[in-house]
């Protein structure tokens, strides 16, 4: 037990989780914006935009996240010299956020589209009937209802994103949890199980409230029909 406690002093486990939380928040924000845009493209009346949105979703949903993040490091940074900040580690952190956002935007798009499916067709027809064109109809009538119907699936995407943020190790974000866990195991193989459970429980603590919150919110905010 003492061995294990000394470990928590020696390694910044909370700091590592904070890095994952930051990755999640930034990637969550960007993927939400990009995902909403993609969802609009997919429900828009313009065929080429529909096609583009569908192509994006199918490409990134079916590409392993590890490959996207490894490409960010090996391809964008390693071969093309692409950076997002003068400080190397900040740059790699942002490239990892970019990779996470690009990947999860595909899932956000599908979650929002599922929300759009909860909005009866009559709503769109009514919006058209009072003279709204596509964008105002989407912004004023369809999306507000769609988001409320999409809370539960969006919560699932967020939960997946939290856990997937550990893959940022492939993009050389070296201070996040999975890296710190590897480091701890490398040095303290004598307490390998306590180390593992520390991180497993840490993620459970992060994820369960989100699940509870989104379930509650999805019931509370769903549009009653």
């Amino acid at each position: 037990m003492e061995d294990y406690l000394s470990l928590l002093v020696e390694y910044d486990v909370l700091g590592a989780f904070w890095v994952n939380i930051q990755l999640t928040l930034w990637a969550g924000l960007w993927s939400f914006l990009l995902g909403t845009l993609l969802a609009l493209m997919r429900i828009s009346p313009i065929a080429s935009l529909q096609w583009l949105g569908a192509a994006y979703v199918n490409v990134f949903r079916n590409t392993p996240l590890t490959i996207i993040l490894a490409f960010g490091f090996l391809g964008l940074f390693g071969q093309l010299g692409f950076t997002l900040d003068e400080d190397l580690n900040v740059s790699l952190f942002r490239i990892a956020i970019l990779g996470l956002a690009i990947y999860h935007a595909a899932f956000v798009c599908e979650a929002i589209r599922s929300g759009v499916n909860t909005v009866p067709l009559g709503q769109a027809e009514a919006a058209r009937a009072i003279g709204l064109s596509f964008m105002p109809a989407a912004r004023l009538v369809i999306l507000p209802q769609a988001f409320r119907g999409a809370i539960a699936p969006l919560g699932n995407v967020l939960i997946a994103l939290i856990k997937n943020s550990t893959v940022a190790a492939a993009g050389s974000v070296a201070i996040e949890t999975s890296t710190v866990m590897k480091e701890m195991i490398e040095f303290r193989s004598d307490v390998i199980y306590p180390i593992f459970f520390t991180f497993a429980i840490g993620f459970v603590i992060l994820v369960i409230p989100i699940g509870l919150l989104t379930t509650w919110a999805s019931k509370k905010l769903a549009v009653a029909r």
Partner: protein, 282 residues
């Protein structure tokens, strides 16, 4: 009705296939473990090595090469196993202790540094080589040691001892961590990073294997890594393995294995420490 019958037939066929596959596996397993006493007999020995470290433990499409592999073959030979009786198992760094504790392997030759915390869960024979942390740099680089790395980009493997040492002792270095050394070397070839760090012998193997660009090992080690043979806690093999390592060094086979595996690289292992004398078995 007809579809049900077809489904049932298909399931029966699938079950039969599965069962026969099990039977086959069991049979060959039985052959392998048949012998009990005697000098190894028809048994196999499971040896854990790295599959991704050229020059040390490397999987070349099913045949295994490298210094670790050669030492393992020699030691296994001394213990009474022929090469056919060796079953090579991949043992990545993070899994080594568990693989020994769960008896998935009998011994591990995988650039496994002897440390006190590791000794609490596993036993070690050896060391059979003493490496040191060093730098791999482009051939025309003027970096001559960790002091020259201030503000430079350095690459190492995620969570490794080498990466941690840099973080602790040289905080001014931009350290990037990748899943493997191959990634580090490929990025260094394009010029985005200035150096790669880990044990000198691993770097020498990488330099020998590098396809693009010429690299050199700086040759200014700043740690001492004593590579041991990982054994299950309480294993009785330790003294036999140590005797085999000593014999290998005396016979000159150790030197030869080192030369063969690091051919064409400008690298000399630390001559004060190598070849090492194995520790006493506890």
């Amino acid at each position: 009705m007809r579809t049900t019958r077809y489904a049932a037939a298909a399931m029966a066929a699938a079950a039969a296939l599965t069962l026969s596959a099990c039977g086959g596996g069991g049979e060959s397993g039985g052959e392998g473990g048949g012998e009990g006493g005697g000098e190894a007999g028809g048994e196999t020995v499971r040896i854990g090595i790295k599959f991704d470290q050229p020059g040390l433990g490397f999987d070349e499409g099913g045949s295994y090469t490298g210094f670790d592999v050669d030492v393992a073959k020699y030691v296994a030979g001394e213990l009474g196993y022929t090469e056919d009786q060796i079953e090579w198992v991949e043992s990545p760094s993070a899994n080594r202790e568990n693989m020994l504790a769960n008896e998935q392997v009998d011994m591990i030759f995988a650039t496994y540094s002897i440390t006190d915390t590791r000794k609490e869960t596993v036993d070690f024979a050896g060391p059979y080589f003493i490496a040191g942390q060093d730098l791999l740099v482009p051939a025309d680089s003027d970096i001559s040691g960790p002091e020259d790395l201030e503000g430079k980009n350095l690459c190492s493997v995620t969570g490794s001892t080498s990466a941690t040492k840099i973080k602790e002792e040289y905080p001014g270095v931009n350290l990037v961590e990748q899943p493997g050394y191959a990634e580090c070397v490929s990025v260094m070839a394009s010029g985005a990073i200035d150096a790669v760090t880990t044990d000198d012998i691993i770097l020498a193997g990488l330099a020998a294997n590098a396809e693009s660009g010429d690299f050199k090992v700086v040759g200014n080690t700043f740690s001492e890594e004593r590579y041991g043979v990982g054994l299950t806690k309480g294993s009785e093999l330790c003294s036999d393995i140590n005797a085999a390592i000593e014999k290998m060094i005396e016979e000159g086979a150790w030197e030869e294995a080192l030369q063969n595996n690091l051919e064409g690289v400008d690298y000399e292992p630390n001559a004060e420490l190598n070849p090492p004398t194995p520790d006493d078995c506890a």
